[in-house]
Amino acid sequence: MNGRRLEIVYCNERLDINEAASCARRAEGGDSIALLGTNSTNSVQGVLPYLRTIPNVGPFSLSPDDVGCPTCYAYDSLMLGQLMSTQALIQQSKITGSVQIVTLDIPAGHDSQNRAYEAMKSAGIDVKPVLFLPPTTSDMSTYAQRIKDSGAAAVVPALPNQGVFALLQALKQIDYQPIVLTNDTQVLPRDIEVLGDFIEGAKFVLSLPPAAAADRYEGVGRWVADMKAQQDTGDEAAATLNGISLHAWLGVHAIAEIAGQVDGEVTRDSFVAALKAAEDVDMQGILPPWTPTAPAPAGMPDGLNMPLVFFGTVKDNTLVLMENDPFNIASNAFQPVPAP
């Protein structure tokens, strides 16, 4: 990049609000041109107040505040989009019967899942009151039994990955198989392999396409190849092909393209100027070209200018697309991605 190499500098917040604040202060006070994909559970409380000059590109958003902050530039819909479109997934999947949401008894769980509950209710879906689990829950058998007793036809396990896996295993043990409504950060490819037939037919709402969509999206194929090359360096985590690794891969490409438009030295200031001036940034044919400062469509939270999600399902032990095109949450319709 202008004769300089690109480098990732990351900080581990360990789900600790003080560590998150420390990471944010370091990022703000350091030399980085951008903060990519703020995947901090404490993002609103712990990170955003400290970001003043560093642009927050592709923040992991659970709430409108996470995506609409003054320094936020979201290029995909992430968790917020997933939360906003679960009811559309239920309708697309033609699920009849009641739906049970399960989440952690923490402020973020109440906030996000109560919103999902209200959205489902407004859409006329038979949704049961949210089942809140203590964050320290390790034995899921009690909650699996409560879901079975409720007779729910579908379950939305809005829990961290390990919690979802434990809950599904507990449901499997009591031989109760509701339709699972989830995403690819809660149920990972390795979980699909282990859960086998139990997860077959599960419905996924995704902010980006799955690895199996490489035949439809050429950019997905490049991401898969790059992750394989990264794995070959000894990075075992690169074996996980999900929306989180694709989000980061896509974000680096977008930042690199924008930085490449800087005339002169690439600094934080010059990058921010280029970011604000950028139009139609190449999203590798995975999403439509992105204009960072474009307003969000009517009805969408400020900052959510790419309100697209993909619907997926598990078929023959593989996460595949239900529809090739993404679903536009704002227009409530599928929208083809133009070829690059």
Binding site: M1, N2, R4, R5, L6, E7, I8, V9, Y10, C11, N12, E13, R14, L15, E19, S22, C23, A24, R26, A27, G30, D31, S32, I33, A34, L35, L36, T38, N39, S40, T41, S43, P135, P160, N161, Q162, W223, D226, M227, A229, Q230, D235, A237, A238, A239, T240, L241, N242, I244, S245, L246, A248, W249, L250, G251, V252, H253, A256, A259, V266
Partner: protein, 68 residues
């Protein structure tokens, strides 16, 4: 209790890490590179998503390779 166990495990793991950043501290950087920061909940019990950094690093490798 579980939190303390993980903190202990992370402390041990961090002593062996060179490339991966540890809690509250950024990963090492060098020279005149253009830096992109990330804040991640890596190596934690509730949000173990190390593939986020892997995805970013995979993109950097790819871009660097294409730049020759």
């Amino acid at each position: 209790m579980q939190r303390r166990r993980w903190a202990a495990a992370i402390a041990v793991a961090c002593s062996a890490l060179v490339v991966a950043g540890c809690a509250g501290a950024e990963s090492p950087s060098g020279g005149d590179a253009i830096q992109i920061s990330m804040i991640v909940p890596t190596e934690t019990t509730g949000g173990n998503y190390p593939e986020e950094v892997s995805g970013a690093q995979a993109a950097v490798r790819s871009i660097t390779r294409r730049a020759g």
